[in-house]
């Protein structure tokens, strides 16, 4: 069986299994699925089972780019101003501070490790440490969603969600800045764009693209035409960003945010994005696993540092941020533990980095993202429930 066909068959089977399996895992063990697709991808990839060759996987590069853009749009769709203005300044301040502290701690540790342990030159160590900091400081919202489904909402869950969404946004901005600052040389007349101009170009693709798409849609309400137009817009925006070596996720976030705040059909669009994105995510997870290859650098020390530091940095950052900003009413004292699971965003970012030709330590970063997701993500609901004090409610009820 060819690699491409196997991949398609796997996604079909995985998609069917996910419907039954994810909910069952959630009900029975209170864990979330997804990591198994990564493992499956690694096992099938060129460095384990060799069922999928590197060529097979790279044939799906446009599909991966579309998947990344889609992830971005799904994040952007969460950024509705109507809802954002209801988030208190205190909660937002804590979220920003928590992300900044966690990212700085991971950046510093990784930079020192990469320079002292791996002897990487500064021009290579700096972007790698920055990307590692972004990967290490993001938080999954899936745990919050699962806990909310079972126990209902509470102020801690709201704070965790605010922190996760803020972190995702800040992480994507930081990632785009890294891509712009260390952009591969481009030979255009009269001169290549500067890093600031690359960032401006990324902003323009997302914002102008989003605005033009808003104009394009007008009052369209037919679901089929919405699907056609939405697909066209996401593909165009993601393709444009990837084409010039920027992040399709970042432009996707801007497009999603524009639509979430301006389009009259916003709720229908949101349903479409989330519904059609599910198999894309599974496929991208398998492809991420299949794209994994052993790191070109000695991997144990940086990987161990990253994996161990990640929860400590997040927890510590949450404690410091709460101390600085004051604990919002109703938020549990140990809420920082709910931020442990990284979610799938670091995987998408590491994949984005891996696809760029000549990106330094791409395999090392992908390995870090895969390992931390496999280690922490499944238990995300348990972390969130415990950190929000809801486990005691359950025990008390019982």
């Amino acid at each position: 069986m060819s690699g491409g066909l196997l991949l398609v068959a796997l996604v079909v089977l995985g998609y069917v299994a996910a419907h039954a399996g994810f909910r069952w895992l959630e009900r029975r063990f209170f864990v979330v699925g997804g990591g198994e697709y990564l493992v499956l991808g690694v096992l099938l990839g060129p460095y384990a089972g060799r069922v999928l060759g590197e060529r097979d996987v790279l044939d799906f590069a446009p599909f991966i780019v579309l998947g990344l853009g889609w992830v971005g749009v799904a994040i952007g769709m969460r950024l509705q101003l109507r809802r954002l203005v209801r988030v208190s300044a205190q909660a937002l301040g804590i979220a920003v501070l928590q992300w900044a502290i966690a990212a700085s701690a991971i950046f510093t540790a990784m930079l020192l490790g990469l320079r002292a342990g791996l002897h990487l030159p500064p021009e290579r160590a700096l972007p790698v440490a920055l990307v590692a900091a972004v990967l290490g400081s993001t938080t999954s919202v899936r745990g919050v969603e699962v806990v909310r489904r079972r126990h209902g909402g509470n102020p801690t869950l709201r704070q965790v969600e605010t922190t996760a969404v803020t972190g995702a946004l800040l992480g994507l901005v930081a990632f785009t800045v890294v891509l712009a600052a260390w952009h591969a040389p481009v030979h255009v007349v009269p001169r290549a764009p500067t890093p600031t101009e690359w960032v401006a170009i990324a902003l323009a693709i997302g914002l102008v693209g989003g605005f033009l798409f808003y104009l394009f849609l007008g009052g369209e309400s037919d679901p089929d035409r919405l699907v056609i137009a939405l697909l066209g817009a996401i593909i165009l925006i993601a393709g444009a960003a990837a084409y010039i070596g920027l992040s399709p996720m970042f432009t996707g976030v801007l497009l999603g945010a524009m639509l979430a705040n301006t389009a009259p059909q916003r709720s229908r669009l949101r349903r479409l994005v989330l519904g059609l994105g599910a198999p894309l995510e599974l496929a991208v997870l398998v492809l991420i696993g299949a794209l994994w290859r052993p790191s070109e650098y000695p991997w144990f020390f940086p990987l161990a540092t990253f994996v161990l530091l990640q929860p400590i940095a997040k927890l510590g950052a949450a404690a410091l941020a709460t101390q600085a900003g004051g604990r919002p009413a109703g938020v549990h004292a140990e809420w920082g533990a709910a931020l442990t699971a990284p979610g799938w965003l670091p995987l998408a970012l590491a994949l984005n980095w891996r696809l760029l030709p000549g990106a330094p330590a791409a395999n090392l970063l992908l390995t870090m993202a895969i390992v931390s997701t496999i280690l922490y993500d499944a238990l995300a609901p348990r972390f969130v429930r415990r950190a929000s004090g809801l486990d005691r409610v359950v025990e008390g009820d019982a």
């Binding site: 069986m1 060819s2 491409g4 066909l5 398609v8 068959a9 996604v11 079909v12 998609y15 069917v16 419907h19 039954a20 790279l58 590069a61 446009p62 780019v65 579309l66 591969a184 481009v186 030979h187 255009v188 764009p193 170009i201 693709i205 102008v208 693209g209 033009l212 798409f213 104009l215 394009f216 007008g218 037919d222 679901p223 089929d224 035409r225 699907v227 056609i228 137009a229 697909l231 066209g232 817009a233 996401i234 593909i235 165009l236 925006i237 993601a238 393709g239 444009a240 990837a242 084409y243 010039i244 070596g245 519904g275 059609l276 599910a278 198999p279 696809l355 760029l356 030709p357």
Partner: protein, 436 residues
């Protein structure tokens, strides 16, 4: 107008971005793909305002932005987007199969076979005869001796008789037409598709004996397997789809897209005919599901297919080579006219033999004029089989396909209108994949 302006601005933006270079493999194809969806969609919406089928709008958008005119879609990008065309054929085939009802087939199958068989044979004979008559002006025939000339003309004619289920299905979807002309034309197109592939294989094998084939050209056994092997695999896939619909049934739109892609992969890997595989799968799954009273996959499949079909037709337009068409038009036009004449005569004779009602007898030919992907696929096989003649044969056939592709939807629309089967206002409201 608002969409045209938006599109022009998007095009301007793309022009600014393109010199900044490609970083990720396949990203340019993706960029072009996105633009083409929006451009073709806009063109479709525009032309429908003046009573022209949307498909023509998609084709025009493809032609306009393709390598022949503006060059926004490069030849490399059209090649990179080839899988989109294959997925589109998978969607079309599944939807075509889903249209076939077991009960109806049992009732009208023999009559359809009579009409289709007669139409194909008459059209084959007429096109072959005209081609031989024009041989001194036909580039790939003029230097051949009588026997090889006859063989080459037969190969060409066996491809020229092919119709386009894609266009017929899409026209019926767009117009919402229901009636004897619509259903008979669809039945003939689908049945013809089952017959032409083995027919072509037989002609090709015979021609190889006369003309001498290229080493490594597909053997008769392989071609036979492509047709016969597709049936059990299609049945299996259809049963699996029916089982999913019965026991899981969630998010069918996404599942439909996955099935189309899976079918494509299976056909490629197992070397079976994609069209037939998905046609059988659609037929089996829909009839099984309908028999048990389960939900079917037809409507979700239409939803998934919509954007893919827009690009499929736009790509077909982008692949039209204007320069070649203009150079060959003195030969292309008589052959295209002969083909239409052959279809008309064949359907009239076939309908008389089968005892069809007057309306389909007179007008069903209008649904058989269009040609697209399958014909192009088969001429590629012919070109590989006869490298000396192939390129010239391909150019001429692409010219004929271009004419039929352009006028086919218009003729069919006229036919449906004459038969009183058009649903007023349906064209404006429905997309290309919306079957009735």
């Amino acid at each position: 107008m608002r969409r045209v302006v938006t599109l022009a601005l998007l095009l301007g933006g793309m022009r600014l971005i393109l010199p900044l270079g490609s970083q990720v493999p396949g990203a340019e194809a993706l960029l072009v793909f996105g633009f083409l969806i929006l451009a073709a969609y806009t063109a479709g919406e525009l032309v429908v305002q003046v009573g022209v089928p949307k498909i023509i709008g998609y084709l025009v958008a493809g032609l306009l932005f393709g390598p022949s005119v503006l060059g926004v879609v490069s030849t490399a990008a059209t090649l990179a987007l080839k899988p989109v065309g294959t997925v589109a054929i998978a969607f079309i085939a599944y939807l075509a199969g889903a249209e076939l009802k077991w009960e109806e087939l049992r009732r009208t199958g023999l009559r359809l076979l009579q009409v289709t068989g007669t139409e194909l044979l008459v059209c084959f004979a007429v096109v072959g005869a005209v081609l031989l008559a024009l041989a001194p002006w036909v580039p790939f025939l003029r230097a051949l001796e009588p026997a090889p000339r006859l063989a080459a003309a037969a190969v060409f004619a066996s491809i020229a008789v092919i119709h386009s289920p894609a266009v017929t299905m899409a026209m019926l979807s767009e117009t919402g037409a229901r009636g004897r002309v619509a259903t008979t034309a669809l039945g003939v197109v689908l049945l013809a598709d089952l017959l032409v592939v083995p027919g072509f294989s037989v002609v090709l094998a015979g021609a190889r004996g006369v003309l001498g084939g290229a080493a490594g050209a597909p053997s008769l056994w392989l071609t036979a397997w492509e047709v016969v092997g597709a049936i059990p695999i299609g049945v299996l896939l259809g049963v699996l789809v029916a089982l999913y619909l019965r026991h899981v049934g969630r998010e069918p739109v996404v599942f439909a897209a996955l099935i189309a892609v899976l079918g494509m992969g299976l056909a490629e890997q197992l070397h079976v005919e994609l069209l037939l595989l998905l046609l059988v799968a659609g037929f089996v799954s829909e009839n099984l599901a309908a028999h048990r009273g389960d939900p079917t996959l037809r409507e979700p499949m239409e939803r998934s297919a919509a954007p893919v079909l827009v690009v499929f037709f736009a790509l077909a337009g982008a692949k039209l080579e204007l320069a070649e068409l203009l150079a060959l038009w003195p030969v292309v036009l008589p052959i295209a006219a002969a083909r239409i004449g052959g279809i008309w005569l064949g359907t009239r004779l076939g309908a008389r033999w089968a005892g069809l009602e007057p309306a389909p007898s007179r007008l069903m030919w209008t649904g058989l004029v269009s040609q697209a992907g399958v014909a192009i696929g088969l001429v590629t096989i012919a070109a590989e089989s006869f490298p000396d003649l192939g390129a010239a044969m391909r150019s001429l056939l692409l010219g004929v396909v271009a004419v039929n592709e352009a006028i086919g939807p218009l003729v069919f629309r006229w036919g449906l209108q004459r038969a009183g089967e058009l649903v007023p206002g349906a064209a404006a409201a429905r997309g290309p994949a919306h079957a009735h």
